[in-house]
Symmetry: C2
Amino acid sequence: MALHTVIMAGGSGTRFWPLSRKERPKQLLAITGAKTMVRETAERVAPLTPFARQWVVCGALHEKSVRTELPELPASHILVEPTGRNTAPCIGLACVHALREDPEAVLCVLPSDAFIRDGARFCDALQAASASAGKGRITTLGIQPARPETGYGYIHMGDVVEKAGALEVRQVSRFVEKPNRATAEQYLADGKYLWNAGIFVFKAQQMMDAISKHLPELHAGLMKLDGALANGSYDKVVKDLYPVLPSVSIDYGVMEKETGLAVVPSSFGWSDVGSFAALPEVLPLDDKGNVVRGTALLKDASNNVVDARAGRMVVAVGVQDLIVVDTKDAVLVIPRDRAQDIGKLLEQLKANGREDLL
Amino acid sequence: MALHTVIMAGGSGTRFWPLSRKERPKQLLAITGAKTMVRETAERVAPLTPFARQWVVCGALHEKSVRTELPELPASHILVEPTGRNTAPCIGLACVHALREDPEAVLCVLPSDAFIRDGARFCDALQAASASAGKGRITTLGIQPARPETGYGYIHMGDVVEKAGALEVRQVSRFVEKPNRATAEQYLADGKYLWNAGIFVFKAQQMMDAISKHLPELHAGLMKLDGALANGSYDKVVKDLYPVLPSVSIDYGVMEKETGLAVVPSSFGWSDVGSFAALPEVLPLDDKGNVVRGTALLKDASNNVVDARAGRMVVAVGVQDLIVVDTKDAVLVIPRDRAQDIGKLLEQLKANGREDLL
């Protein structure tokens, strides 16, 4: 009953434009460190799951880059989605492949593009979750909230199921959607609400059974893929079949409907790094609160995010709360509180005939 | 008694960094139009002084670029200052050369890097000034002030000397230094104060006589250069001598001391274009008050100056009153009201060992 890691790397990551592009989304960029986020994710879980027991699910456009980033992984462990169908098919696909290799596999499924400050504490939490999963509970990591964040979903936790050293395993009372500000403040004050980081640990076979119960159509498709793996027709079948699998999230499709779930309340410095505006949470600041990467000169400038890693000198004077990003072929200047709008910009660039910049 | 033009192109123009560089200062850049400012200046005066009667005084570092920009000028009309010594030696040097070619020469001396909106009206004013100069008066053009500008010197005008069509030639009562705001407002209200645009017309021999009277040391040096021109030793002598000529402005050294000066009050849309902040005065604005050059996409952005002529896409969202300049190797972001500080930045870049960017 070995633990495997499944890294979900299907994102398209437009909110980091112009750093991120269609062919090189956030998880393939060094956003929070010196290495790409997918590489950092793989190295982070390596103490528990060596590369030989790691899997990556990614889009066809990124397969080659992922293989280059993670040459240590078995070639057959890079699973390509012909088209993105949300997380339930993605996780189901990983289950099918892992079960062929290891019928007792326990899978830790996690996003490829989150920041984690304390890798050792993360591994401790993951170990506790994997022990819990081995006992037949789909177990998630829940992040102790640091602020009344409205951008994340929450997990309402119930009673303690068991202790695991300094950590607890608790019942999941329910999953809740992104709250409004007032509700988020209530959650924070309540103390029983955790951020849902999208990190789940479970026996692969148990997840297949849960999919069979709650998403029978998806299960039928996955079984066809399993048969195709057995008879050597997988490459053709996955191309035809995967794009028509029901597109549904694992949260909505399975987790919110399943009972007996567990959560390990955790605290290891987590951020989903949703945009440039989140970088000051996770990167070092200078004495004026600026995040500066690359060759930049700042003067009378505070609380800015400057990414000048394209080799040019970026000089910013007398500006506050601004994002300035320089790349080979595009420069972006936008206030931090507008960072969420970057995606919309790309539609405009497309309308202007500049698909080359997307 | 032919009119010649002397274009003073000795400026180092740091306030347009990163567009301007040591080797390519403002006058060698297309700041206000499609052509370089020195080329636009030469073409502007061409109706009155064909290229064969134009002269350029420039620094050694810029000689080659000036020759490339103005191939129509006689090679001997590009006068190189071994080092900059302010405007009195510069004008004296031009007098010496022009007098050798044309003892009756009338010179119109003007900066190489000013903006003039209405070239025809400018030529009318210049013609009136040159007629006045032919009658033995050092004559300057004075610009009707459009606002209480504190960045320019002023000319206090006296009585009308003569009419020249719709234009007047008036006595110069005195030259005054850059005023403070209250004084500038007084000047504007008074109606007798004009901006000093540094455009002078005079008989070359008369200017030599005035230099002899007010700056005898400079005159002696200039006569040595004249002798060297006669005996073929000029190239060597100018290198040794010019750098030790007294460094003084024509305004302070001659104009403020000379009597009998005249001024032609003029109005042809003039700006010295002292920095990026001045561009909205002289370039077309979009419907949000932005000056945009090159490939840029602006959204919810007003009153910005964006120069994106390096080929990269510059995207600016939700910003106001900002200057954004993209070049091959440097990007600048600075508020419009800090544009005067750009020069200081360069000292910092130098201190940081980035002389390559200056």
